[in-house]
Symmetry: C2
Subunit: 274 residues, 2 copies
């Protein structure tokens, strides 16, 4: 692992690191904030949205103050593999670089690099465990938009790995949202029965379970009606034991101006459960 | 005035606006955060550092949460005139675009556009007063690096206009710091007696007065020894009635990871005095 940068902030350390990923076959970058004054802190994963890298939330997310107070590590991975050897569609912001959708591709040529599900669940936690002294028995996960989809899917499929889950404006049914369904076709093929393991609504309908999910959604979000549709997850959870706490937030859009507003709330939510 | 963008954040509004500047002879952009639930809020000006625009602090400064709580407007102007008709040195980050040094140029061709002192003190407040319902009888000022220099100079020269002043890592004696003295030569000529009105140490030595100045300075700041040197201002203030509160902050650098850490402290400082 290589250290790319290190800055002191809120008495903790904001690091950016890179490493050679075996599952994605490229160098991957991630950000990690280490809080002060706590031994073996618990770990909260933040998965970012379409077009983002580790940088967006690191710069605009406003998580360090509360994470330092609460004594939580925040890890912000990139959203896809990148590099000259990684197949991409440079003019398409909904596929390829910045748009890994947190799944493991099965279709050539994407299956060689686009394996963000295994990367987040298996490979990066191992890298983190080798280099840092965090309490990996206490992990939680959250994310924004495409990363909210990723966080909810990963929690539902790994309820014993994550202590808590939340999301800002998640894509809850990517199988049927246009910006994700086109990408799913290319990554995992035309057989839609293979898509369900990456679709939170389908997982809930198939009895996957996570005790509580917190979702904040701005009602002025321009992607709400066509891309996000949190009511689909709300409907799916209705006759289950999943406690979905969906908060519609008046006037907020899809940006980090919205995310940063509710960031502290989410960190407190996770800290109470981790 | 034109509205460029508007986003809801922390129950307030983060706006970006532009207008045609008469003193700078170009279109100028600024950001303004309007806190919720308060009529005629007071105004805190934030002056940014070299290479920055209004964007850097708007994205990374983490001021909205506390400004919303305290009920203060935060105005973030650009750091220089910009545009095709504005003379510039594109490869020099210490002069021209992004490096206006908050002075009024006297030398051709810069005097036509580089008049940031008059812009911040006179023109932009008039524009703000015309378009917003803020309490312009209650204004304070702070800034970072080159903008810390600007804030302290403006407070010392306008002690009745500003209720309070603070700075993150300010350039306190720009007349003798290399990154500013070269720019001063081009903007205001070789006669150094004209430089003193833009130099906080010189102003203090010439009996300019402001009651209190708060300065936070990271001791791991790579510009500390050659460019910033807050001890020069500390020495100058020693036999005056100016209460300079200089806090050396261990391990912090020159970046927004440092600024954001102490942003809330500064907003509280200003709110108690405005």
């Amino acid at each position: 692992m290589k250290s790319i940068s290190e800055a002191y902030s809120f008495e903790g350390k904001q690091l950016v690191c890179s490493h050679q990923s075996a599952v994605n076959n490229c160098e991957m970058i991630f950000a990690v904030f280490i809080p002060p004054k706590i031994k073996k802190p618990p770990v909260l994963w933040y998965l970012s949205g379409l077009t983002c890298s580790h940088l967006n939330v690191m710069e605009k997310g406003e998580y360090r103050k509360k994470a330092a107070e609460l004594g939580m590590v925040i890890i912000c991975p990139d959203t896809s593999p990148r590099g000259e050897s990684v197949p991409d569609e440079k003019d398409n912001w909904q596929f390829g670089s910045g748009a890994g959708f947190y799944l493991d591709a099965t279709q050539s040529p994407y299956d060689k690099n686009y394996n963000m599900y295994s990367y987040i669940i298996d490979e990066l936690p191992s890298v983190i465990e080798n280099y840092f002294d965090f309490d990996m028995s206490r992990q939680s996960i959250f994310g924004h938009s495409m990363g909210g989809h990723g966080a909810i899917v990963m929690a539902l499929r790994n309820p014993n790995k994550f202590k808590s889950c939340s999301a800002f404006a998640p894509i809850v049914e990517p199988s049927t949202a246009k910006w994700s369904s086109e990408a799913f076709k290319k990554y995992i093929g035309l057989d839609q029965s293979n898509w369900h393991k990456y679709d939170s609504v389908a997982l809930v309908k198939n009895d996957y379970y996570f005790p509580e999910i917190l979702v904040d959604q701005g009602d002025a979000d321009s992607f709400l009606e066509e891309g996000l549709r949190p009511w689909l997850l709300q409907d799916a959870c209705k006759n289950t034991n999943i406690n979905l706490k969906l908060r519609m937030q008046p006037n907020y859009d899809h940006s980090y101006y919205f995310i940063s507003t509710f960031m502290a709330d989410h960190l407190i939510w996770h800290r109470e459960r981790i």
